[in-house]
Symmetry: C2
Subunit: 468 residues, 2 copies
């Protein structure tokens, strides 16, 4: 076979189909035709679009064509020409074909017919070869890149906060333990507890639940940082909204107060969604058509409308009025409750019909590090609530006063031995600062319109599931 430099399909489709001889490589999505001619839909992952390969049966031996079945990998040389058929503007008239790898139709699980998302979760190692998952993964890439670009362009520094940690301060949920001790023979102290002296780190360690506390150290030195890394929760929750391993983005900015923090969150989310609309048109159009007919409309709405900003206390009033007006919620509503998804979605979807930033939550339901308001009851928290998703961002201005923070740590019974380094940021050159966390997969649920969080991450980790 003649050696011609390969062109990716995404680039081929931008060329003028004037008969130039090109090389394309990829995986067969389907083959149809008759005894005279075959039409192969070839995909190489660079775009959701296939290129049609037209094969004149007279020019090829049957032994070449027979193994070209769905899933097989081939290399094709041929002329790129305008297509007479429907559904594509150009096609390749094959002159040479090389088979790289077969895909036995008797055992290859991804035949042409549609598959349920549940079935595809069972073969997560192959599902990126489907239209849906390749689209989701390309959007995932685009969003990750947009996140880095957004922060880089605005002078934030990417900070790698640690994954293995000896502190359990956030209390954000149950943690996975990390150890090199022999589980068959755990060493014990004389008091009968686990003796971590010979563990790798010489103490008990876990997987991080958040990089925020270390992120604050970075912000108090570099001014503006962001994290983007894996975080972990050992919660035994088998729901479409929970993963044991997921990725989180946490910007932290010195000198930002709560209003600048809200401005940043709103601008950031709008930028990301606009980036998807601008750079993932084909994939979003496919996902809109296939899974969620309101997807594009919803994305468009969010970038075009100013988010409503309102205190938690006002939000509770609206919910109480809704109940008085006859609206039924599953969970009760009163000042002090942690809002459920149904409450958040009522405010966003029913009442305001717009994304909402709720602020100034009761201090009892928020983390110790949030800046205390003068009312003694609330803290400068902010949650961004989205249609369909509920909370997509949670953040706050941080308490910068050493004494107030220390008192709150004591009140909440957090061991001071784990907190000395965090408190040092308030001992030495303290400053107002703020930040927030965005769950990457939550963002992807919103941007792709997918309904289950296991379908927006390549290899989901959930209870009893760590395959691949």
């Amino acid at each position: 076979m003649e050696q011609i430099k390969r062109t990716k399909i995404v680039d081929l489709l931008k060329l003028d189909p004037a008969g130039e001889i090109v090389n394309v490589k990829g995986w067969v999505r389907s083959k149809r035709g008759n005894k005279n001619v075959s039409f192969i839909a070839l995909n190489d992952g660079s775009t959701i679009k296939n290129i049609q390969i037209v094969v004149d049966s007279a020019s090829f031996d049957e032994s070449v064509l027979k193994p070209i079945t769905t899933g097989a990998c081939i290399s094709v040389n041929g002329a790129l020409v305008a297509s007479q058929g429907q559904g594509q503007t150009m096609e390749i008239n094959a002159s040479e074909i090389q088979l790289y790898g077969e895909a036995d139709p008797n055992v290859y699980p991804l035949q042409k017919k549609g598959h349920s998302l549940e079935f595809l979760r069972e073969i997560a190692h192959l599902r990126p070869r489907t239209n849906t998952f390749s689209a989701v993964l390309r959007v995932r890439h685009a969003m990750a890149y947009a996140i880095h670009k957004y922060f880089n362009d605005r002078g934030f520094f990417y900070l790698h906060t640690p994954i293995v940690t000896a502190s359990d301060c956030e209390g954000a949920g149950e943690m996975f333990q990390v150890t090199t001790l022999d589980l068959n023979a755990i060493p014990k102290t004389t008091e009968g507890g686990v003796d971590f002296a010979n563990d790798f780190f010489g103490k008990a360690t876990s997987l991080t639940v958040s990089g925020q506390l270390e992120g604050e150290l970075g912000a108090m030195a570099l001014g503006a940082i962001y994290t983007f890394g894996p975080t972990f929760r050992a919660e035994n929750s088998n729901t479409p909204r929970h993963l044991a391993e997921f990725w989180m983005i946490e910007p932290e900015v010195a000198f930002n107060e709560i209003v600048e923090n809200m401005d940043l969150a709103e601008d950031f989310l709008k930028y990301l969604i606009q980036y998807a609309l601008d750079n993932c048109q084909d994939d979003l159009a496919f996902l809109n058509e296939m899974w969620d007919k309101e997807l594009l409309e919803r994305l468009d709405f969010v970038v075009k409308n100013k988010f409503i900003r309102l205190p938690y206390t006002e939000g509770i009033k609206i919910l109480e009025e809704a109940i008085a007006g006859g609206h039924k919620f599953e969970f009760p509503v009163s000042w002090g409750i942690d809002l459920q998804s149904e409450h958040e979605r009522y405010l966003v979807e029913k009442h305001f019909k717009c994304p909402v930033i709720l602020t100034d939550y009761p201090k009892e339901i928020k983390a110790f590090y949030m800046k205390q308001n003068d009312d003694g009851k609330t803290v400068r928290a902010m949650d961004v609530l989205f249609p369909k998703i509920g909370e997509i961002i949670g953040g706050s201005q941080r308490e910068e006063d050493y004494d107030k923070l220390k008192t709150r740590i004591e009140e909440m019974g957090i061991p001071m031995k784990d907190m000395w380094w965090y408190l040092d940021t308030r001992r030495f050159g303290s400053a107002p600062h703020s930040g927030f966390g965005l769950g990457f997969e939550r963002l992807l649920l919103f941007v792709t319109g997918m309904g289950n969080i296991r379908d927006v991450i390549p290899f989901p980790r959930t209870p009893n599931n760590a395959e691949y």
Copy 2:
């Protein structure tokens, strides 16, 4: 104090110092002066450069000025004017000063005098406030961004491979166990082993040592992917080159053979180093002056010279000739050995005086997945060897033949139950493909000139060290 929008120092220094009233916020690096005037060197992390604040003592109460000591955080309004003094082109004549946070000189550990890197490792939560570590962390950010930009611009998709994994196939080193079992009461099976049935994932799991195998799944669907995530080694190595937790970049490309893989690695490294030279001038100039006077020269040399490419067998001959010529190595040299750092550096620094890509290593010293050459002895591995660092990249073309790969897995005693999903890539639509791994901190050692890998990551994890 009048509310004026803050300007970062990096942006201030681009302005015309024509007397405009500006606001700047940051941390005091030093204060000097006399009873009439004080000069404050202020830094906000946006650049290694300070802005000089000139304070006329007559305009401020002593109580305002006294707590402004090294490490304190302040906000300053004043006129941006050309500087008469040496060492800066502009300065701010302070009209208003607000103190955010003090830094008691009796206890704040980062006083003006220089500190050893060893001492700063003990206070890793504060060291980003020093010139050296803020420079390193800004370069680290720039390199991370350049990596994403390089791949995004070339149509690669960022793939998040799993951190918690149930497979231990790479054999790249000892692994950390991840568990939710109560270490005080490990459940046992009837045979006496650990009963993982009630562990979170229902089986033994560990922290990943590499995303490559999952990366190959992505490449065989999306065409070209890269990973960039944390990886872990539970090796008890207390050296300036080892971390238990570090970040790795692993591109994987369908249809690339070994030569394209070498081309990619060389182009990628040159791009990154050129990006640093173009975007981190101030920080690199500081690091060159402070820690490594040959840094800039070395970086420049690498981007300007074509890497030497040569087979392992030729490399061994050169080393044997060196020994015959009287050169002493600590470790012996013969065909079949795994090269030591001293051997790699001899080839790079003494013999070729140029980066070297060594290929076609003996199969016994390389991983099972590398493509076997026809000689039956070597595999299509490639290591990129750099001055000062030794191996900076390791990669290979992968074995795409199902039977050859399966045989090799059996020969090496890898449990087939862990490998079915990996083998599926060769069962269904297999194709030639290649990739490599770049240790992010190795790259940073090279680009920053720092000598200890603990000094190029914000929070190093090493034996007995998981603080913060």
